[in-house]
């Protein structure tokens, strides 16, 4: 087989037969096969893998683009999905920086070869720290869910307790991950929400708090989009039981919303995706954790924490790992939880995003989201029998629209929207059956008035239409 092969593969320089021979000579081996003599014969795989033969770069390009063209993206259709992954604008400079070959292909080099990477991540930590107004931020974790789980595990180690209280309105997707990361050691207990406002029910919280409570975790804005206003009361209650308060936040809200540190959070976590990451079908998620500069907390981080230090040359800075010996890199199972490759590049990107927007940009971002989502709620709420928002709280970016009284299911509404080139809100009817036919819509700074009006118009049409399902299938079959 190798005899037939004339050309070296572009990715593998030493497929050149003459070079192979020269190297084998040097080693003192006759064939490459010999070098595999450490693997017992019976384990040698004798068959050919059923994988199609190599494509040239052009063929590959045409083939993959052909597959990708089967997707319809959020530039082609108008998108109102959020629910943990949000459609924000990504400034071109963010892409330029994270596509630079240097950052893209670097990994775990030491401070002297990878000074720029250390500085960029230290700066990310520092910028994020300003946004949440706390002194310590880690190198990014996988996503919000895992950051939350890790925060809970940190709280459990600090308090020595094994129970965490979470709001019932938490994202089911996120909850699955938290539960998996907490089990078997930590039990998740749920706090009720107030029927009308969606806010945490303080009585229920008080009932469930105990000396077993490691932490109270809640989110702001909540998964269902409303702003939880009782943060200060919740953290006080938690504190009265010596439990730790953990708040998950959407950082895109922090230009206008108070950061959790201002209402008593000990640990803040959340997702960086809104800060310059494309949605990437969910591949843009990236978690962060922040705390005060308190040894009790710092020593429980599993993550790497980059610190700044002077070098032997006056005025020059270098960077390094703070308290490296707490990590599982250093201590294996004795380390704090575990650490590894997570989402460093998204941390660098979030830093770029925050540098570009600055305080004014973050304020304007929040303001514009507040304005546009209020406008959308108002317009949707004007459609007869549509309730927007389902909850009587102030919302940020996302809100629940109740179609229960329209005679249409969310599924039907979404199919109608899809047929008209719109991705409707996230269907909540399975995750929160108690809400009936509710849908979670997301409005960000990217939505123009015309976009919102088009959504409203199309929903109105959908609800007005008395056409049977069959008829609709007929008309829109081609979509």
């Amino acid at each position: 087989m190798n005899n037939q092969k004339k050309a070296a593969h572009p990715y593998i320089p030493n497929t050149v037969p003459e070079v192979q021979e020269e190297m084998l000579r040097e080693i003192g081996a006759k064939t490459i096969d010999e070098l595999f003599d450490g693997i017992p014969e019976e384990l040698h795989y004798k068959k050919d893998m059923n994988i199609p033969k190599a494509l040239s770069e052009y063929e590959l390009s045409r083939y993959i683009e052909g597959i990708l063209n089967k997707n319809i993206n959020t530039k082609e259709y108008l998108n109102f999905l959020g629910a943990g992954c949000w459609n924000h604008y990504v400034p071109a400079v963010c892409d330029e920086v994270n596509q630079r070959a240097e950052f893209l292909t670097a990994y775990a080099g030491d401070p002297y070869e990878d000074h720029g990477r250390y500085q960029a991540l230290f700066e990310y930590q520092s910028l994020m720290a300003e946004l949440v107004d706390m002194d310590v931020v880690n190198v990014p974790t996988f996503d919000w869910a895992q950051a939350a789980a890790t925060s809970i595990r940190m709280a459990s180690r600090i308090t020595g307790r094994k129970e965490v209280l979470l709001p019932k309105t938490i994202s089911p997707d996120r909850l699955k991950i938290i539960k998996n990361y907490c089990s078997p050691q930590i039990e998740c207990v749920f706090i009720d929400y107030e029927e009308d406002s969606g806010q945490i029910n303080l009585n229920d919280l008080e009932d469930k708090l105990s000396s077993n409570t490691a932490a109270v975790y809640f989110e702001n804005p909540s998964y269902l989009g409303f702003i939880e206003t009782k943060g200060q009361k919740i953290s006080k209650l938690a504190k009265s039981f010596e439990a730790i308060t953990i708040v998950g936040v959407d950082p895109s809200s922090l230009g206008v919303l108070a950061p959790p540190s201002h209402y008593g959070a000990d640990i803040v976590c959340g997702d960086l995706q809104p800060l310059g990451m494309h949605m990437n079908y969910g591949g843009g998620q990236s978690g962060f954790i922040a705390t005060h500069d308190d040894l009790t907390f710092i020593q429980e981080y599993p993550s790497r924490l980059f610190g700044i230090a002077p070098t032997v040359v006056k005025g020059e800075y270098g960077f390094g790992d703070v308290l490296y010996d707490r990590t599982s890199f250093a201590l294996r199972e004795k380390g704090k939880e575990s650490v590894g490759t997570q989402t460093a590049l998204w941390g660098i990107t979030a830093g770029v995003y925050l540098s570009l927007l600055g305080p004014t940009g973050m304020y304007e971002l929040g303001k514009s989201i507040m304005q546009k989502s209020q406008y959308a709620m108002g317009q949707l709420g004007n459609i007869p029998n549509v309730v927007a928002s389902r909850f009587e709280s102030t919302n940020f970016k996302e809100f629940v629209v109740d179609f229960s009284h329209t005679g249409k299911s969310v599924k039907e509404v979404n199919q109608y929207l899809l047929d008209n080139g719109i991705f409707g809100g996230k269907d909540l009817s399975e995750e929160f059956p108690e809400l009936g036919q509710c849908s979670l819509f997301c409005i960000t700074e990217i939505h123009s008035k015309e976009d919102i009006d088009r959504l409203v118009r199309t929903i109105q049409e959908c609800i007005d239409s008395i056409s049977s399902k069959e008829e609709r299938d007929g008309v829109h079959a081609k979509n």
Partner: protein, 508 residues
């Protein structure tokens, strides 16, 4: 570059980007939006972020990028165990296509058929490579894959009513620290096996370790020494006989593609790092993907949803009976799945085998050459190395006082990576080199020449090594105190300003 910290570039009033204006009609309709926020939740003071024009932000990060030695820029073999290989540029074009990057993870399945097709087809390729029956690409890295495997082990025994009883997981010291750490996160006691004098995991120790408490066994093979455990099939049998599950950490799989498979070695689960063996870029440490495969009987324990083919359509199946739930949001990191699939298709079955063959050839060439360097050695059995080798400067350090860390700093002067993290230091003064298939003989010769040069320096002029770097972006950092002392460490710039001011106040 002598590039300041970004906060030092702050100039009040500058801005890096403008956001879309809210239309006047909306403002007329709802006001400023912000007034609706309950007072207690309104941010009172703006975050103390710097204000910088776009040109300067870009210049800052471009300069930092140039101060980062990406794999694309050097003879990248010094980060052994990391499998730093060439990440083809064409795959970046795919990953940054709006047809990939602008997809929302909750879109209707009918609108993401292309994406699901890629995930499904990579699954099929992975099955061929490993012999496993189903793959998920949800884990975001090797560590998260290990955590997922530990979760599945627990779910499996729980489903069999042995969840409480089986509380031990066995691993080896030359496997990645995350194997032990993630199993511990999942509540397991860890039993760590040390190698025999030749560097092989000791089968007698395994026999002694297994019991009715054994939940599972997790191991890399080859381990970070580059040595393949030839009795692996006996190992998995012993664990199976004791009722345990066998998990294969395939982080070191680069010498194995098309050569040998997880299934035939008796494993129940395995994972590959797409960012290592399958060439997706390391991205300074993620986002990445662990491709986790299981045998049939473990399928129902996998995290959901899985991509399946139904007639001509691809669907997401989230109805796995005993699913552990999830480990990462949505469907993991699909852009990495796309890159890995493209890489496989650029190579084909034959090319994948060439990857393994050349990676092993390169490594053995390097091994042969390094052993000729004065002061260098590779502990354990002679030969039998696959894709990497853990070496030792023990002799050189004894002879000259120059340590592996000194050499690391000096290698920076030659623009080479030379990774210093090999905890635990079982091998004294270790260094681990993994050349992969991406590098040519000339590249290897260049790296060898630098190492040889430095070893000579160590014997003739040790100070030059011990005071390195001389020629890097920065000079030697005052490490110990600033990174271990809570009074002095500064994990953020605001923290640095506070602590420096305090120090200055005290000093003045």
């Amino acid at each position: 570059w002598d590039e300041p910290i970004i906060f030092e570039l702050h100039k009040i009033g500058e801005r890096g980007v403008t956001l879309p204006a809210t239309e006047e009609e909306i403002t007329n309709n709802v006001g400023d939006g912000v007034s609706a926020i309950p007072l207690e939740m309104l941010r009172k003071t703006k975050p103390n972020l710097p204000e910088i024009s776009q040109n300067r932000v870009l210049r800052h990060y471009l300069r930092l990028s140039q101060e980062t030695l990406g794999a694309a820029f050097n003879v990248e073999i010094g980060q052994g165990t990391c499998t730093m290989k060439y990440s083809p540029k064409i795959n970046e074009a795919f990953a940054s296509s709006p047809k990939m990057s602008e997809l929302h993870p909750l879109q209707d399945e009918s609108t993401v058929q292309g994406m699901l097709e890629v995930m499904y087809k990579l699954d099929l390729c992975m099955r061929e490579i490993s012999g496993m029956d189903y793959f998920t690409f949800q884990p975001g890295s090797g560590t998260q894959s290990l955590f997922t495997m530990a979760s599945i082990v627990r779910a499996y025994h729980e489903a069999n009513g042995e969840g409480e009883q089986r509380d031990e997981i066995i691993t080896t010291i030359f496997s990645h620290p995350s194997q032990a750490a993630t199993a511990a996160v999942k509540g397991y006691k860890i039993i760590t096996l040390y190698p025999d004098k030749d560097g092989f995991p000791d089968i007698e120790k395994l026999k002694a370790a297994v019991s009715e408490r054994t939940a599972g066994f997790v191991v890399a093979n080859p381990e970070d020494t580059g040595i393949y455990n030839p009795r692996i099939k006996e190992f998995t049998k012993i664990v199976h006989d004791a009722g345990g599950i066998c998990n294969y950490d395939q982080a070191n799989a680069n010498g194995l593609l098309g050569i040998t498979r997880a299934k035939e070695a008796g494993f129940d689960m395995c994972f590959f790092n797409l960012h290592k063996t399958f060439s997706t870029p390391h991205a300074c440490g993620g986002p990445a993907t662990g491709a986790l495969g299981v045998v049939d009987k473990l399928m129902e324990f996998m995290p959901g949803p899985l991509v399946e083919k139904q007639g001509e359509k691809y669907i997401l199946n989230d109805r796995l009976k005993h699913s552990i739930g999830k480990v990462r949001s949505f469907q993991g990191v699909p852009q990495t799945v796309l890159r890995a699939y493209a890489w496989i298709r650029a190579l084909g079955a034959e090319g994948l085998k060439d990857v393994a063959r050349v990676a092993v050839l390169n490594n053995n060439y390097l091994y042969h050459k390094i052993l000729n360097i004065h002061g260098a050695d590779a502990p354990y059995i002679k030969g039998k190395r696959l894709e990497q080798v853990r070496y030792s400067w023990e002799k050189l350090t004894k002879d000259t006082g120059v340590t592996t860390e000194d050499i690391s700093h000096r290698m920076a002067d030659f623009a080479h990576h030379y990774w210093s993290s090999h905890h635990p230091f079982v091998v004294p003064e270790p260094f681990t080199l993994e050349p992969t298939e991406s590098l040519s003989k000339a590249d290897l010769d260049e790296y060898i020449a630098s190492l040889t040069h430095i070893a000579n320096e160590a014997y003739t002029n040790p100070e030059i090594v011990q005071n390195a770097p001389h020629n890097s972006t920065i000079h030697r950092v005052d490490e110990q105190d600033y990174f271990e002392n809570p009074e002095k460490w500064c994990i953020t710039w605001r923290s640095y300003l506070k602590k420096t001011n305090k120090t200055e106040t005290i000093n003045s």
